[in-house]
């Protein structure tokens, strides 16, 4: 499996691990060609064609598989495929599948151009998959940028809606600013370490030699934290998220909230794990990182407490969940400072399980909001009495909110159990207590919506019932089942 042979640029092993993404790339081009050359009738099949592509890619990914402790590299160590990458790519493809199913009706109601939407969705999915596999600084940057640019276009794709265009405009400016910070940080890390490959960085750090230009390294890491913080909506870099989620089309908001965060978290974990295990990490950086995480949990929960708009509420909830998801990394850093090593394996499994849990519940919530259309996109008062009007939709939303709140027997609860367990394992008792208390407090704003749906009378104008129909409904039901099922069988995630 030596992909470093000087005579070949690409080996067959490289191609085989890339096949899922390559397949999607060809599919995206195919969708664009169909949109260009065929007539209106044939274009009705574009969503189905997209779905077939995602399913094929998923099947191919499962065929390649990933055993524990087996890591394969591609393109001279620029891409890394281990268990975390495999799980992240599964989750990303699952989210893409779900969102394609949920988008069909949404697009039709708003006359959004179909061909471009689905092609861009596929391209975004590819960049997410590659981002989760990046093992090198330039690859990381390229994938983040391709993802961001695709999402800028997708966020503004509803061209007739001025709010959407404005949301995309703001997202573009803020996103480019953050990307520039990420890039400069990356440059400083390259300068300090002398290499862009994560494997070589790991070698240099694990030999415990003093790093030349440590100042550059730490400054670079801090700037990368800023850039990543934007992508993951960590406080205080989260400010763009409520406006963006409120303005962008709901399925696109779902993509940004789930897929992009999953890929970003996987990439963040892959990169910062090198420095988490470095026992010469400066205390300033460690405490700064802790502050970021704690601040995200606080800001996310406080911001959602009084939020009347459902999509902004989900944005703030995403901020809090991004905070929770980084607790394992803090646990690893703490353990390294105290003991010297350990906990990386369980951190990896805790993070990968939480990626699945978080994206499932958030995607369900966005899916319900998208299915409800104009009724479900704005003020939560419009959810009053939803249980009477559309009982199944209300049940799906209730399940996803219960899961987000971390109530037992849901995947959200199991995810939080693993996160706080690893914090306790590392001896971070205050952080674990704080996380649990914040989680309990967050139940208020999630359950408030459930109360509105089931126990209040509809307010304002008479709203018509929305049925769970066709594949849209099937996707929502399958998601709800998954929320409970994955909570019951989490053990295979803990195998690594």
């Amino acid at each position: 499996m030596d992909s470093n042979s000087t005579l070949s640029l690409i080996s067959s092993r490289d191609l085989s691990v890339l096949m899922p993404a390559l397949l999607l790339a060809l599919w995206a081009i195919g969708v664009l060609m169909i949109d260009l050359f065929f007539d209106r009738e044939f274009k009705e099949t574009i969503p189905w064609i997209t779905l077939v592509g995602i399913v094929l890619s998923f099947v191919d990914l499962r065929i390649i598989g990933a055993e524990e402790d087996v890591v394969s590299y591609a393109f001279h160590n620029c891409l890394r495929f281990d268990r975390l990458t495999f799980l992240s790519q599964n989750v990303i493809l699952g989210m893409a599948f779900f969102l394609v199913l949920v988008s069909a009706r949404y697009l039709k109601d708003r006359a959004i151009p179909r061909g471009e939407y689905y092609a861009l969705l596929l391209l975004a999915t590819i960049s997410m998959m590659m981002l989760a596999a990046s093992n090198e600084l330039l690859t990381l940057f390229l994938n983040i940028e391709v993802l961001s640019i695709t999402l800028y276009i997708l966020a503004g794709i509803e061209r007739e809606n001025l709010r959407t265009t404005e949301a995309a405009f703001k997202y573009f400016l803020m996103g480019s600013f953050a990307a520039a910070f990420l890039l400069f940080g990356l440059t400083m890390v390259y300068g300090a370490m002398g290499t862009t490959q994560f494997n070589e960085i790991h070698e240099v750090l694990s030999k415990n030699q003093p790093v030349p230009y440590k100042l550059f390294l730490v400054a670079g890491l801090s700037m990368m934290l800023v850039g990543f913080g934007f992508k993951l909506t960590l406080a205080p870099f989260h400010m763009y998220a409520p406006d963006l989620y409120a303005g962008a089309p709901t399925p696109v908001g779902g993509m940004i909230a789930t897929g992009s965060k999953v890929a970003g978290l996987a990439a963040f974990f892959n990169f910062f794990r090198l420095f988490a295990e470095w026992n010469a990490l400066p205390s300033g950086f460690y405490y700064g990182f802790c502050t970021l995480v704690v601040l995200s949990i606080i800001v996310g929960n406080v911001g959602a407490l009084t939020q009347p708009n459902i999509k902004r509420l989900l944005a703030y909830s995403g901020v809090a969940h991004a905070g929770y998801a980084l607790i394992p990394l803090i646990a690893v850093m703490h353990r390294v400072r105290v003991h010297g090593s350990g906990l990386m394996g369980s951190a990896e499994s805790a993070v990968s399980y939480y990626l699945l849990a978080y994206s499932l519940m958030t995607a369900l919530a966005f899916g319900v909001a998208a299915t409800l259309g104009p009724q479900g996109e704005s003020h939560i008062d419009r959810y009053s009495g939803l249980a009477r009007r559309s009982p199944f939709l209300a049940a799906v939303l209730a399940l996803s909110l219960i899961s987000l709140a971390g109530i037992p027997f849901t995947v959200g609860f199991m995810g939080k159990v693993y996160l706080f367990a690893i914090a306790v394992n590392a001896g971070l008792y205050p952080l674990a207590c704080f996380g649990v208390l914040a989680s309990v407090a967050s139940a208020y704003y999630y359950l408030r919506i459930i109360v509105k749906m089931y126990m209040e009378e509809p307010q304002g104008a008479k709203l018509e019932p929305t049925q769970l129909e066709g594949l849209n409904g099937a996707a929502l039901i399958a998601g709800s089942v998954a929320v409970v099922v994955f909570a019951m069988f989490p053990i295979w995630f803990l195998l690594s």
Binding site: F141, G156, R163, L173, F177, F184, Y190, G191, P308
Partner: protein, 102 residues
Amino acid sequence: MEPMLFNGNMLLAILLFSIGAFGFLWKQDAIGMFLCIELMLNASNLAFVSFAQALGRPEGVAAFIFILTVAAAEAGVGLALFIKVFSEKDTIETDTMSMLHD
């Protein structure tokens, strides 16, 4: 190892980046803000190439080409967005973008 901190290249890159960052926060029109972003990206370019020269490694020069390409793609998308906003509102001053406040 060369004393990179005192190398004029690195100082210039940091200076350019700071000017770009400050300009982004100061400016009100979208084109100006985007120009500042380009300035920041090119500051990183300069830093990459100067590190490549100091370290004798090739990644920095490859990075230059990649980043330039990415900046061009970003410019394409961004300017298209700006044109759309301008066609609706006849202005791209960011002070006027307040439709999303609730």
